[in-house]
């Protein structure tokens, strides 16, 4: 099984890119499946099943943080894809949390960034970009060539080794190089491990504490002026 994880801020074009990729994978007679992980609502799985007839699934993370959800269900998701008899599993993440990153060792991590999102975006999204293998820059049809070059520079500044692909995903321009990377991805090895180190904090907010202020929490904390400190056993 080859695992391809797509991450990126909301509405950056992940689904549009994935659909273009799937179209080309099918033309090459390669077997793919698709999973969407989102918090409350997603309909991509139904659209993709209807358009391409491949196995699809959605997982609502609901109360869980979506990247957390991704980590706890991915082994089952891979099993599901194996049972469906496919060779490539595409996972589209909700792309909300910018601290964790959803990429798995030996998978292909694809971060999708919209070129219209401002020149500081590459500096803001941390491991979602720096731990990815490929950065797809979408919506290049909406900006000038000069802006494209400057945006690309900003991406490379944040992630020096990353492979950049510029795309107008609506028209399917710039998709072939992504397909090539996908085909060349390694098989995943079990058990699977996350690529990056998860954040050091134990999130007391995640476990349900609602009070504002560091004095009401424990684990890794900070105040406005002070750097990180630790409270607890």
């Amino acid at each position: 099984m080859k695992l391809i994880v797509f991450a990126g801020p909301p509405t950056c074009g992940k689904t549009t890119v994935i659909k273009q990729v799937i179209k080309r994978m099918i033309a090459k007679q390669l077997k793919t499946a698709y999973i969407k992980i989102d918090v409350l609502f997603a309909d991509e799985d139904e659209n993709i099943k209807r358009d391409f007839g491949i196995p699809t699934k959605k997982i609502y993370s609901g109360e869980l943080c979506p990247d957390h959800c991704n980590v706890v269900v991915l082994d089952e998701a891979v099993e599901w894809a194996e049972n469906e008899g496919v060779d490539f599993l595409f996972v589209e993440t909700a792309g909300l949390c910018l601290r964790c990153s959803p990429y798995v060792q030996n998978s292909l991590g694809v971060v999708v960034l919209e070129s219209t999102s401002g020149m500081n975006l590459p500096r803001k999204i941390g491991p979602m970009l720096t731990l990815a293998d490929v950065a797809v820059i979408t919506k290049i049809d909406l900006i000038s060539q000069a802006e494209r070059e400057v945006f690309r520079y900003r991406v490379l500044e944040a992630a020096k080794e990353i492979i950049i692909v510029e795309s107008n995903a609506l028209y399917g321009i710039g998709i072939d190089p992504i397909v090539k990377q996908i085909i060349n991805t390694k098989e995943i090895e079990k058990p699977m491990f996350l690529k990056g180190n998860p954040p050091v904090g134990t999130c007391t907010i995640c476990v349900g504490k609602k009070e504002i202020g560091a004095k009401n929490h424990f684990g890794v904390l900070r105040t406005m002026e002070n750097e990180l400190f630790y409270v607890g056993e």
């Binding site: 070129s115 219209t116 401002g118 020149m119 500081n120 909406l142 900006i143 000038s144 060539q145 000069a146 802006e147 070059e149 400057v150 945006f151 690309r152 520079y153 900003r154 028209y171 321009i173 710039g174 072939d176 190089p177 090539k180």
Partner: protein, 267 residues
């Protein structure tokens, strides 16, 4: 990449019909225009050229450089991309000040003296605009005309590419004769998408388009060149009036006759 020749091989139009024109070739120093009604596919054609289309765009066209195709994953060192495209955009989305943007772009493009090229770029742009652009202004704050002026100046000076594609430079009220005059000082291939007769007739040849198809190619003959000289006079007069009106003048009969008298010499 050392470009000697570009070949564009036709594909299909909007309804999938074969293009009438099988293709055309460009050599260094050529100036050409692409003409046709709105929505006929002019921008699509120059986008194909910019991306070195290899039957992988909706039109199915192929672009050859020195008789060879460029593979889609051929990764240009972006500082050496041989084609600069000045798109129809009349606004920037980059939230950076002009000075910082140009500085990064000049760095990407490997300029030797960054300060000097920024200066030169702003100077070029400001010859085309009404109100001048300065380094502190945010890119997103520039007007339509200022944006286009800066795009042109950036492509020619910072981009320094041998091939320049310009999508409707006549738009947005920039000083287009000045632009043509400045551009012609640089030895490059220029491809103008245009609705402007003066620009079209100044080209070596023009591609006529309709319904997504390249229909025919017309070389600018001697007769057309003479006509262009005369049209230029009319056009200059129109520009004089534009300047007066923009400057808050009223067009009295006397002023009108004063300006129009050059035209009457034509008859």
């Amino acid at each position: 990449m050392d470009i000697k020749k570009i070949t564009i091989i036709g594909g299909c139009g909007k309804d999938g019909q074969r293009e009438d024109l099988e293709g055309f070739e460009l050599k260094m120093g050529d100036i050409i225009s692409i003409v046709g009604p709105t929505g006929c596919g002019k921008t699509t054609l120059i986008n194909d050229i910019e991306m070195f289309a290899n039957q992988n765009t909706p039109s199915g066209r192929t672009v050859l450089i020195n008789d060879e195709t460029v593979p889609e994953d051929y990764s240009f060192d972006p500082s050496k991309h041989p084609i600069a495209l000045i798109s129809q955009h009349t606004n920037f989305l980059s939230d950076l000040p002009v000075g910082e943007f140009l500085q990064i772009h000049a760095t990407v493009r490997g300029a030797e003296n960054i300060e000097k090229v920024i200066e030169e770029t702003l100077d070029f742009a400001n010859q085309l605009t009404g109100e001048s652009i300065n380094r502190e202004t945010g890119m997103t704050e520039l007007s339509g005309g200022q944006t286009r002026s800066l795009l042109i100046a950036d492509a020619v000076i910072i981009g320094n590419s041998p091939i320049i594609l310009l999508d409707e430079i006549e738009n947005a009220g920039i000083h287009r004769t000045k632009a043509l005059e400045l551009l012609k000082r640089y030895d490059k291939i220029f491809i103008f998408v245009t609705h402007d007769s003066r620009i079209a007739l100044l080209s070596d040849f023009r591609i006529v388009m309709k319904n997504g198809c390249m229909k025919k190619i017309i070389h600018t003959g001697e007769e057309e060149k003479r006509a262009a000289q005369e049209l230029k006079k009319i056009d200059d007069i129109m520009l004089e009036f534009r300047k007066l009106i923009r400057g808050g003048e009223q067009i009295s009969e006397e002023i009108f006759n004063e300006h129009i008298k050059n035209i009457q010499h034509l008859n």
